[in-house]
Symmetry: C2
Subunit: 235 residues, 2 copies
């Protein structure tokens, strides 16, 4: 089933964006009468039929809608430092979106080698993963932020900082309890600076380990996301 | 700390391979007297000093050795169908090696779009991830195999097939018990054929779900690996 993203979708006739229309007609070579699925990114999946296969403004007839099954009882926010090779962050965004996440932040910190990210490209990666994994909800990608500002933000739930330090014996898998909201900070290739860790602790973040393996930044992000999802699936 | 892979490493003077020597001298620009770490891939990490920075055959003096901390009480074997875009399998190999795994198999199945993989390149990815995550043990990459032959292989432990089917209600996270050996089959983009699932069941594989998300092949592999590692870390 081909899935399209259309935030303003509702029952009746709708027009796809130019980009989605091109994908529909030129890439997927869909034809009038073909059935498609639409996600509105805010919790609904819809069934529709292609009624005009125009390469710039496809028209669909949405006949039914249902709530997606990607709802969970907690809020998961992962904040990560950009990797030198941005492709690694793109994979992180794709994998976490597939696994299930609510909110992403990208922050620059003292040891970040990369300072600039292009949100448009990252947003596209997330939308693509939402469609591929038939999610009804689009995770939020917050505007880039300085670490110090991020650490001071309000968050109602458990706040963790994944710190690579031998003195840290508590692990995310053994500290987090199912149902809790969680915000997890993942550092850059050169790890957080000691100042950053101290600031985070001051604002209520708990230093935790993600296990005994030395993980790359993007792997740590994926492991954190999957840890929270798995613990919430355990019976 | 820079890590090199040298299967025959032992206390005393050793020579790096031409490729590792080039990396050491030309890329990392290491000099005589610099300290390095060596993994022998079979459980030992060693401390060494560079004594001859020759770009084709570096000589190291290994002064001490210790057992790595990447030992666990179970054996984890993940068998996966190659993705159309082989880069996705490369990421799977890298991430699972970082997270911790013992054995990989790549199999061709009825719905595999790709039939040929180059083991040399995949082996390099695994070695690179072993070095990057300072693992002392190199996961085994078995020669490519047909699905039917793989399903018939002996395995002492739990055997699972991750099957995307609404009738499957049991999940890996709730079926697997810590300490058990596990072999997990992950299908291609077009999923396993029904014949393949039936053959696997006949040979003792249990169909399980990896959760309610529709995951890409390589994501399913990463989730399976992390599920087993996490359950074994739970106290």
């Amino acid at each position: 089933m081909n899935v399209f993203y259309l935030p303003e979708a509702q029952i009746g006739f709708v027009t796809l964006s130019e980009e989605e229309s091109k994908h529909c007609v030129r890439v997927l070579r869909m034809q009038i009468g073909d059935n498609v699925c639409i996600t509105n990114g805010t919790g609904l999946l819809m069934d529709a039929e292609l009624v005009d296969a125009h390469p710039k403004h496809c028209i669909l007839n949405i006949t039914s809608q249902r709530k997606g099954n990607d709802f969970w009882s907690f809020h998961l926010h992962i904040a990560i430092a950009p990797t030198k090779n941005i492709e690694r962050i793109e994979w992180f965004l794709e994998k976490c979106t597939e696994m299930g996440i609510d909110e992403f932040s990208i922050f620059t910190s003292q040891h970040s080698e990369r300072r600039i990210v292009k949100p448009e490209r990252l947003e596209k990666i997330i939308v693509s993963a939402v469609k591929q994994s038939i999610k009804s909800r689009l995770p939020t990608l917050n505007p880039s932020i300085q670490f110090n500002d991020l650490a001071k933000q309000d968050f109602h739930g458990r706040k963790y900082i994944a710190w690579i330090n031998e003195t840290i014996t508590e692990t995310l898998v053994n500290d987090y309890k199912p149902g809790e909201n969680a915000m997890i900070l993942i550092g850059p290739e050169g790890d957080f600076s000691r100042d950053e860790v101290e600031l985070a602790i001051k604002f209520g973040f708990k230093p935790i380990s993600l296990g005994s393996s030395r993980l790359r930044t993007e792997t740590a992000g994926i492991v954190a996301c999957q840890t929270i999802q798995l613990l919430n699936q355990l019976k």
